[in-house]
């Protein structure tokens, strides 16, 4: 039973990260109808920036801030320099361009930092402390929950309580009408990419220390899990993304805990297949076909 509790908390902690990453995917999907397959590579780039800044200054938090700012700027750059010019007549075009960005990012990172795994520091200890004799969660897990919780609350407030949030939603749902009402739709799109890339960078910062370490391809598997989380929740729904993230995290934790770590990726693939074929609109939607 102790083990079950431990795995549950571990799964929720992983799930929180997937939730944040899935949120980033949903943000861009809602704004631009593009699944940003470059999200993982962009997040890794931000983590490398943090690695350099932390290495130079000795401060984890300076690196943390640098990663978020870099992510924000990278999102703006990618939208303004590349994605804006993609021909959207076929949904494949956006995907292929994003894949091109993956190759570029991974190549550049490999050139600058090399292709070996690099250890990264954490601001808090990762060994679990006991609660009533049961090792439940670590200080780092608490940090993860707090960071992801803060992002979720901030995004909720942004979208429901602020003028910018209202503009972003309107621009996403009805671009032409929004322009007639004076909303700078292009700017809202850029803002969406910036926010999403910053949230993705945060997720990268949180997840890399719990995996093998920093590597240009470090987020490939995480991307698959987060994509699955976003699909489980229905790509359109931020709440769905958070729920989907937690579901995927728990699944991964239980499967690795009880069946072995090497089976976990297959469990995610299985979940993805089942959801895509069984509940095409995600677990929380009523739409029928997965037509993008």
């Amino acid at each position: 039973m102790d083990r079950f509790f431990y795995l549950t908390f571990d799964g929720l902690s992983r799930g929180a990260v997937y939730a944040a990453f899935a949120l980033a995917l949903v943000l861009i999907w809602r704004a631009a109808r593009i699944v940003n397959f470059a999200q993982g590579a962009m997040a890794v780039a931000a983590v490398y920036v943090a690695y350099s800044v932390t290495g130079a200054t000795g401060s984890y938090w300076l690196g943390f801030a640098a990663a978020l700012v870099f992510g924000l700027l990278l999102g703006i750059a990618v939208e303004k320099a590349v994605m804006r010019f993609v021909d959207h007549s076929s949904p494949l075009n956006g995907v292929v361009v994003a894949l091109g960005l993956v190759l570029i990012t991974q190549g550049v990172l490999g050139m600058v930092y090399g292709n070996e795994y690099r250890p990264v520091t954490t601001p808090f200890r990762r060994d679990a402390f006991d609660v009533g004799g049961i090792a439940l969660l670590s200080r780092y897990d608490v940090f993860v929950f707090a960071a992801v919780g803060a992002v979720v609350v901030a995004l909720t407030l942004l979208f429901t309580r602020t003028a910018a949030g209202l503009r972003m939603r309107a621009a996403a749902f009805a671009p032409d009408v929004s322009r007639l009402l004076g909303v700078p739709v292009g700017g809202m799109l850029t803002l969406g990419w910036a926010l999403a890339a910053a949230v993705g960078s945060l997720a990268g910062m949180l997840v890399v220390p719990t995996e093998l370490g920093l590597h240009p391809t470090a987020m490939d598997v995480v991307f698959v899990s987060a994509f699955t989380a976003a699909v489980v929740g229905g790509l359109d729904s931020p709440i769905g993304a958070v729920t989907g993230g937690l579901i995927v995290g728990l699944l991964l934790s239980y499967v690795s805990g009880y069946l072995g770590a090497t089976v976990a990726p297959m469990a995610v693939l299985l979940l993805l297949v089942v959801v895509l074929l069984g509940r095409p609109g995600g677990l929380f939607s009523s739409s029928k076909a997965r037509l993008a």
Binding site: A163, L166, A170, A174, D176, R179, L180, L181, V183
Partner: protein, 249 residues
């Protein structure tokens, strides 16, 4: 407000002066050399059969369709250099085909969206209250999502949202579409009332020629993208040949 038919149109000083406008999608223009004037406080009906270019005309005026050549002068400024996002700041409100209610947003959010661009926050808030006074039905449904509204409520919402910007020119595309005649009549009557009270000018695209001419001061008839007639609403109503040829009643 009646037009003197003897007076050449292009010499009248207008709020909106359209000269030789040619516009359309891609290579083939939909509109050819369209020319007309809307003066402050005037309601001008744009009439014509399906495919005559009525909607394209409104979209060209607000910049959603690019003009190939010609001039669109609003208050002395050529609108062709103005971005779509800026039109509302110039005092032009466009209620597009199908009303443009953002169905995923609530009534209140839709209305607030109409005033977000305004610097004068206090007046935007006042305008919001005025719209709720004008359409009590909307006030009762503030928190309802756009997709839950009836056709009439959507039209009120679209119109109300346009009014929050306190426009000087309203481009209104087919307000009667899908509405009961009684509601259409209410909305058209409201246009006259607004015009009388605020001096609002309206360019009204309508399939329903009779209702349109009942509120308009003047009408222009489009056929295959060209203006075939411009005249006072009263004269258009009485011109039997024209009615048969282009307006179908």
């Amino acid at each position: 407000m009646a037009v003197n038919p003897d007076e050449p149109y292009r010499k009248q000083s207008g709020l909106l002066e359209v000269e030789d406008l040619t516009a359309g999608y891609g290579a083939a223009p939909v509109l050819h050399d369209v020319r007309f004037t809307v003066r402050p406080g005037q309601i001008v009906a744009v009439l014509g059969a399906n495919g005559a270019g009525k909607t394209t005309l409104l979209r060209a005026l607000s910049g959603l369709v690019e003009a190939d050549h010609g001039r669109i002068v609003f208050d002395g400024e050529d609108l062709r250099d103005v971005k779509v996002e800026q039109m509302v700041r110039r005092g032009i409100a466009h209620v597009p085909e199908g009303r443009g209610v953002v169905t995923e947003l609530t009534v209140d959010e839709n209305l607030r969206l109409g005033g977000l661009w305004r610097r004068d926050r206090a007046d935007a808030a006042r305008a919001l209250d005025e719209v709720y006074d004008l359409f009590p039905a909307l006030a009762q449904r503030r928190a309802s999502a756009g997709h839950q509204l009836s056709g009439g409520e959507r039209q009120m919402l679209a119109l109300g949202r346009a009014l929050i910007g306190r426009p000087r020119l309203l481009l209104l595309d087919e307000p009667s579409l899908g509405l009961a005649p009684r509601i259409t009549a209410q909305i058209l009557a409201l246009l006259r009332e607004l015009r009388d009270r605020t001096g609002l000018a309206v360019l009204l695209v309508e399939q329903n020629v009779r209702s349109a001419l009942s509120v308009a001061d003047e009408g222009i008839v489009l056929s295959l993208g060209r203006v075939v007639t411009r005249n006072s609403a009263a004269d258009l109503r009485d011109d039997a040949d024209l009615r048969h040829a282009y307006l179908g009643f």
